[in-house]
Amino acid sequence: MITLKINGLEVKTEEGQTILDVAKFYGLEIPTLCYNEGLSRYGGCRLCLVEIGEEPKTKLVSSCTYPAEEGLVVRTDTKRVIEARKMMIELMLSVAPGSKIIQDLASKFGVKQVRFKIRNEECILCGLCVRMCAEQMDGRAIGFQNRGYKRKISTPFDTRSEECRLCGGCIYVCPACQLRCQGPDADTAVCNACLTMDPTCLDFHDELQCWMYDVGRCGTCIREKTEESNNKKRTQKSKQKEKNA
């Protein structure tokens, strides 16, 4: 048995557990992205950062890879953690603003701006697909290639791989492509719409663009559109046009 402290709470766990495992067991929420229960740990997204140690010698570590140690002092929601986490979300958002998962993270943690160049990529290099393919699907069809800013995920020679069994596992776990979010026609890369109470999608898209292919199920579009929101939309659109011109 190991005893450690998370957010002042004394907790017990076994050898070989990570901080994240313990926190989950005790119901303490730590956001994650590149972590998946059924796959090996990667520690790539840095979303699960926590602060360990006592003042003034504390440091940030990724809780999904850091093993629980006897006497460890962990804090999951310090100012430093929150700021670092917001920065990671902002960075990921600038890479793949089309990802609903990342947009939702942005809403949840109050990321309201993106100060980096918007790259509109379809991948944030979280490595989930690679691990899924190798560890669960016994596939070995995709992997990381190149390095630095040219790093990417692909099959050998960028063609259909003989090893791929077309199981779709890679797409299933991908945070950037499993759920596409179009976002409103916002001027920025942050949408912040899903988690607010305003009617969203139908304010901006017509029925045919419902990604649930089941118009009306989520209810947003049934809500009567107020005159106000229509006006808002109009002004927003014209603003955008002005900008484009």
């Binding site: 070995r140 992997g143 290639q145 050998p156």
Partner: protein, 155 residues
């Protein structure tokens, strides 16, 4: 292809079919073919029992390897910090103009490949250009033409 296959296999047996010798084997292949042909990589993958995708990962990580055929002659222009401030980019441009290819490309006749590198560790003599392993120090735009001539007159 069979003779080829034997040749590749000989590289692999030279290193006792050991997985950890992957880079050395790839180096031999690169040396022999001037690039890493797809077929050869597949043979290596089978013989060593390393998934092809992992071999590609290694091969694309190092600049010493190339998956595209490289020219007979490799010209590398240093764009590291020291060479950069001493005019590396201008020299690269001059090579691009003279050889009529962009950095990272191979000329149509398969003679030259032009690449860039970020520091060769000999900044004191920069800007540095390496042609087929020969280091040329303190290059200026004017010297580019004569270097090319000197180097390729031999043949």
């Amino acid at each position: 292809m069979e003779a080829e296959e034997l040749k590749v296999k000989s590289y692999i047996t030279k290193y006792n079919n050991e997985k950890k010798a992957l880079i050395s084997i790839l180096q031999e292949v690169q040396e022999e073919y001037n690039y890493l042909p797809q077929e050869v990589l597949k043979i290596v993958s089978k013989a060593l029992g390393i998934p092809l995708i992992d071999i590609i990962g290694v091969a694309t990580f190092y600049r010493a390897f190339s998956l595209e055929p490289r020219g007979k002659h490799l010209i590398t222009v240093c764009l590291g910090t020291a060479c950069h401030v001493r005019g590396g980019p201008k020299i690269l441009e001059e090579f691009e103009r003279k050889l009529n290819i962009d950095a990272g490309e191979t000329s149509k006749d398969g003679q030259f490949s032009l690449e860039t590198v970020a520091c060769l560790g000999c900044c004191a003599i920069g800007p540095v250009v390496v042609i087929d392993g020969d280091y040329h120090a303190q290059i200026t735009i004017r010297k580019v033409g004569s270097i090319l001539k000197k180097h390729f007159k031999k043949e």
